[in-house]
């Protein structure tokens, strides 16, 4: 799967499942500041990623992920 396909799937999850405005979801968007995903929300996001891509994500892998782009890259590397 190409990076842009991963991004489109991530965007779909954010918009459809989490109710985030589509225009806000860009590669540069910061999860907490721009998308208002707090510490509880991150757990939901991870669950959604795990279900969508059929992977498992460890908490340590998430430590450096603060933007949509970083999340997309992490997912891309694991698929």
């Amino acid at each position: 799967m190409e990076t842009n396909e991963v991004f489109e799937k991530v965007k779909g999850l954010f918009v459809e499942d989490l109710g985030i405005e589509e225009s806000k979801v860009t590669m540069d968007a910061k999860l907490e500041e721009d998308l208002e995903i707090d510490s509880l929300g991150i757990v939901e996001v991870v669950m959604a990623f795990e279900d969508e891509f059929e992977i498992e994500i460890d908490d340590e892998e998430l430590a450096d992920v603060t933007t949509v782009g970083q999340a997309v890259n992490l997912l891309h590397s694991k698929i």
């Binding site: 989490l18 109710g19 985030i20 405005e21 208002e36 509880l40 929300g41 757990v43 939901e44 669950m47």
Partner: protein, 412 residues
């Protein structure tokens, strides 16, 4: 030193009769039932298939999907009713209310629908798939916390869970907070949104619910000989309560005074009222004492009146004990006949009804009261509203657990 007087300056509600105060009031005085067949989930196989549901409310539309999905439905209703009440009290909802304002909310069973869903997910998909927001939605204090966050309420907060007396106790404790000078204003109310397949099944198991599935609007018949149980209801009601001087300083209209609060415990049985309504008697007397009134001063009683055989009989006996001869004269009604039982949200809703009754000088009727019961022989305002000059009202709330909360309101 005389006690600080406590007033109500804002009302907000969303309930089976309406999503604002005026629709609710119009339906109340026209004897309209808000009870119907359940539309929010499948009722196949359930012994009871009707309830009082909130209608025409889309939380996603009201607060946006990203916010709405983080809350249980009880939280949606609570924020909605609180916003209505704050606006009604002429308070700017864009500003944080700060540490001078407290919040006291009542609920019976909190976010029970979220609890059920989380258990289902656990059974089907395991612990790692449980909604990470489940705890924040199911805890009984969730609505209290969410309303506080939304409006920046930083004063003391309490969540009271005395079953069907919860929000009567909430208003009473709010009154004490203001009267004792702890804060000048409290956002007080109650919420219940616990009508699920499981709760219906469980309440039906103890024979607490009416099973009149053919005629939902006729099912809740407080004080009627043919009553066969209560009807589940949902809703949230919030009152802005403040000291009289605070209201005068803000220059806002006053609905009425919260003049008396009495609370007691039956300490008898976990569901059945004590014989003769012993605990109810005690709470009514305490509320009158607190209000510095006698039974002869009370013009209207909004009864607990659940439509269960036991409550209505024992509440009637309790009113007779407290009011003596006046019991046959005082105007009583049970508005649960129209809303169903709002459980932990009932006391706040019926306080709102009591205040509107005083303000408008119209007593809403007890609908479906067609066949008098010899053990329920008081003046329950059957089926037709009554116009009358009124100055004082009492609102009764009694809960499983043996909890009793009674409030007394004065027009001036």
């Amino acid at each position: 030193m005389s006690k600080r007087r406590v007033v109500v300056t804002g009302l907000g509600t969303i309930n089976p009769l309406g999503n604002n105060v005026s629709d609710t009031w119009n339906n109340l005085i026209n004897g309209i039932s808000g009870i119907d067949h359940i539309s929010s989930f499948e009722t196949d196989g359930l012994p009871v298939t009707f309830a009082g549901e909130v209608k025409n409310f889309d939380a996603n539309e009201y607060m946006g999907k990203q916010h709405a999905r983080k809350l249980d439905r009880s939280g949606h209703l609570s924020i909605y009713a609180a916003e209505e009440a704050l606006k009604d009290a002429n308070i700017d909802t864009e500003q944080r209310l700060g540490s001078g304002v407290g919040i006291v909310f009542g609920t019976g069973i909190g976010g029970i629908a979220t609890t059920e869903q989380a258990v289902r997910t656990y059974d089907e998909r395991g612990a790692s798939r449980i909604n990470p927001l489940a705890i924040t939605q199911l805890m009984p204090n969730s609505s209290t916390g969410q309303v506080a966050i939304k409006f920046g309420i930083e004063g003391p907060s309490l969540t009271i869970t005395t079953a069907c007396a919860a929000s009567a106790n909430a208003l009473g404790e709010a009154k004490n907070m203001i009267q004792n000078g702890i804060v000048d204003m409290v956002i007080a109310g109650g919420t219940e949104s616990g009508t699920t397949a499981m709760t219906i099944g469980a309440f039906a198991q103890i024979r607490a619910l009416s099973t009149n599935n053919e005629n939902p609007q006729k099912a809740c018949r407080p004080f009627d000989k043919d009553r066969d149980g209560f009807v589940m209801g949902e809703g949230s009601t919030v009152l802005v309560m403040e000291s009289e001087e605070s209201a005068i300083n803000r220059g806002v209209d006053i609905y009425g005074y919260v003049s008396g609060y009495g609370a007691s415990t039956d300490a008898h049985h976990i569901t059945a009222p004590a014989e003769g309504g012993r605990g109810a008697v005690d709470a009514m007397k305490k509320a009158l004492f607190d209000a510095e009134l006698t039974p002869n001063d009370i013009d209207y009683i909004n009864a607990h009146g659940t439509s269960t055989p036991a409550n209505d009989k024992n509440e009637t006996a309790a009113i007779k004990t407290v009011f003596s001869e006046k019991a046959y004269d005082v105007n009583i009604s049970s508005t649960k006949s129209m809303t169903g039982h709002l459980l932990g949200g009932g006391g706040a809703f019926e306080s709102l009804v009591s205040l509107l009754t005083l303000k408008n000088n119209i007593i809403p009727p007890t609908i479906n009261l067609n066949n008098p019961d010899e053990e329920c022989d008081l003046n329950y305002t059957p089926n037709v509203p009554l116009e009358k000059d009124l100055s004082t009202a009492m609102s009764n709330s009694f809960g499983f657990g043996g909890h009793n909360g009674v409030l007394v309101f004065k027009k001036s």
